[in-house]
């Protein structure tokens, strides 16, 4: 372990975890408002301005940040102070750490930590996000927050099961859980012309994965733990930056889901038919990194559109969908994939 490695890792962490993830998260809060405005046929936020420049409301995330920083971070009476302060960190840190194993481009230079166990690491660390919601609601000493956190915990663990199971098909086809290897495998061609992207080989798994991970992220149509019109949710007693961290963590998780789905199902940094081994360097490599970012942006947009075009489920419907549809379908997907692979 030498200094170059440490410095390079630091630069990568700052660029990927802090700049890319945080800025994408902050931008998504703007996209969320503008897109919902477009869906609702409204104008959306356009008031925040510096010297008359509004930049289509792009200054609103900055105004929000300043506001969150200068508000009082109060703790309600009877709350468990330590857990109350810990919960927003537990919600925010896991989605940032997940980015450590996502390959942004070919080779070890574009990933913080090229773990062989990449996808297992993502499932394990992503699962920690449950603690943020569960502890935050319980520590608040509030009936509604407790209900919200119970709903959040039950919903997240229900969908965690099928999320793990419907990725088994991908692991089976590519014979690895390392994200870099899976991306390389997706560069190969089926029948000489079709890129072996995950979505081509495992279309069912992609739909199941997107559904399960959106339910994990607790956003509409799965926003029962918050349910603005019903119980307000586990972050009800939170104020200032602590609330903002819960809020931002949801948007960073959107980026995480988009990045993981792009890596597993959309070929990661692969541009179809161009340099599948990622050894070209120069402009082609830059284009591959740009392709990955483009895929992430596209999948973020898909999630936003789903969020703004579907109504909220009822809670028993969420549980029914998770246990009675996604889980059996995931199992069936594994069996069918195994049989097809054995016959080929």
């Amino acid at each position: 372990m030498d200094l170059t490695f440490l410095l390079l890792t630091l630069v990568k962490i700052v660029l990927i975890c802090f700049v890319f993830a945080m800025i994408m998260g902050a931008l998504l809060t703007w996209v969320e408002r503008k897109l919902s405005a477009a869906v609702h046929d409204r104008v959306g936020p356009n008031r925040a301005s510096i010297m008359g420049v509004t930049a289509m409301g792009l200054l609103h995330p900055i105004a929000d940040m300043i506001k969150a920083f200068t508000k009082e971070d109060f703790v309600p009476a009877g709350a468990n102070k330590a857990l109350f302060a810990l919960a927003p960190m537990l919600a925010m840190v896991p989605p940032l750490v997940v980015f450590a194993v996502v390959p942004f481009g070919p080779g070890p230079n574009f990933v913080i930590a090229p773990l062989d166990t990449g996808m297992l690491f993502i499932l394990a660390i992503g699962g920690l996000g449950i603690y943020g919601a569960a502890l935050g609601g319980w520590a608040s000493n509030n009936s509604f927050a407790l209900l919200g956190s119970l709903r959040a915990a039950a919903q997240m663990i229900s969908y965690e099961v099928s999320m793990g199971l419907n990725l088994v098909g991908i692991f089976l086809i590519f014979g690895t859980v390392s994200l870099s290897q899976i991306v390389l495998g997706q560069g190969e061609l089926l029948w000489g012309w079709l890129p072996m992207w995950g979505i081509v080989l495992q279309p069912v798994a992609f739909i199941l994965f997107l559904t399960a991970s959106m339910a994990e992220n607790k956003r509409a149509p799965f926003d029962l733990p918050e349910g603005e019109s019903e119980i307000l949710g586990y972050n009800l007693e939170y104020s200032s930056m602590r609330f903002a961290l819960f809020f931002l963590s949801e948007f960073v998780e959107i980026v995480v889901i988009a990045a993981v789905a792009a890596t597993l199902f959309f070929g990661g940094w692969q541009i179809p038919w161009v340099d599948p081994q990622g050894t070209a360097g120069g402009w082609i490599t830059a284009g591959q990194v740009a392709a990955f970012v483009g895929k992430v942006v596209f999948l973020c947009w898909v999630q936003m559109m789903i969020r703004w075009t579907l109504p909220r489920f009822r809670y028993d419907q969420v549980m029914t969908l998770g246990w009675k549809y996604l889980l059996p379908l995931s199992l069936a997907n594994i069996v069918v994939t195994a049989i097809v692979v054995a016959m080929l």
């Binding site: 109060f74 070890p108 509030n142 009936s143 195994a338 054995a342």
Partner: protein, 138 residues
């Protein structure tokens, strides 16, 4: 790549730096924000009323059942992942090729039978049938 442990150093670094950043944000917030705690402000929020009952009250046992199912089914998912990774190698292996598929069909079959059992038991039905008129609401 150099030594095998380097990725793990990078992971720990990511963890430490992310925690540090989030912690720094929270500390900055507590420095910048005002601190005016009044009695009414710190009350639990229940639409303006005083909390009617203890806030950490008993909750439905169904959440507990879901937690147990999670433990059972997630562990079975973990068992499937090593098999999935080595499945293609097993198919090429003369000894294990014949049973690589059969064994996992058995495993998934047992898993599916467990799912079918809890399904038939009604443990997956979140909403019980509506109580008769005048009955206690759930």
């Amino acid at each position: 790549m150099g030594a095998d442990y380097l990725p793990y150093v990078a992971i720990v670094l990511t963890l430490v730096l992310s925690t540090g950043l989030v912690g720094a944000i929270l500390v900055m917030n507590s420095i910048l924000g005002p601190k005016v705690l009044t009695g009414a402000k710190s009350e639990s929020f229940e639409c303006g009323n005083l909390p009617a009952e203890p806030t950490r009250k008993r909750f439905s046992v169904k959440f507990y059942v879901v937690a147990i199912f999670f433990v059972v089914f997630d562990i079975e998912a973990i068992f499937l992942i090593p098999w999935a990774v080595s499945y293609r190698d097993l198919l090429n292996d003369p000894v294990y090729a014949s049973i690589a598929l059969a064994e996992v069909l058995l495993f998934v079959g047992v898993l599916a039978m467990g799912l079918w059992y809890v399904w038939r038991k009604g443990a997956l039905d979140w909403a019980f049938e509506r109580p008769a008129a005048g009955g206690e609401n759930e």
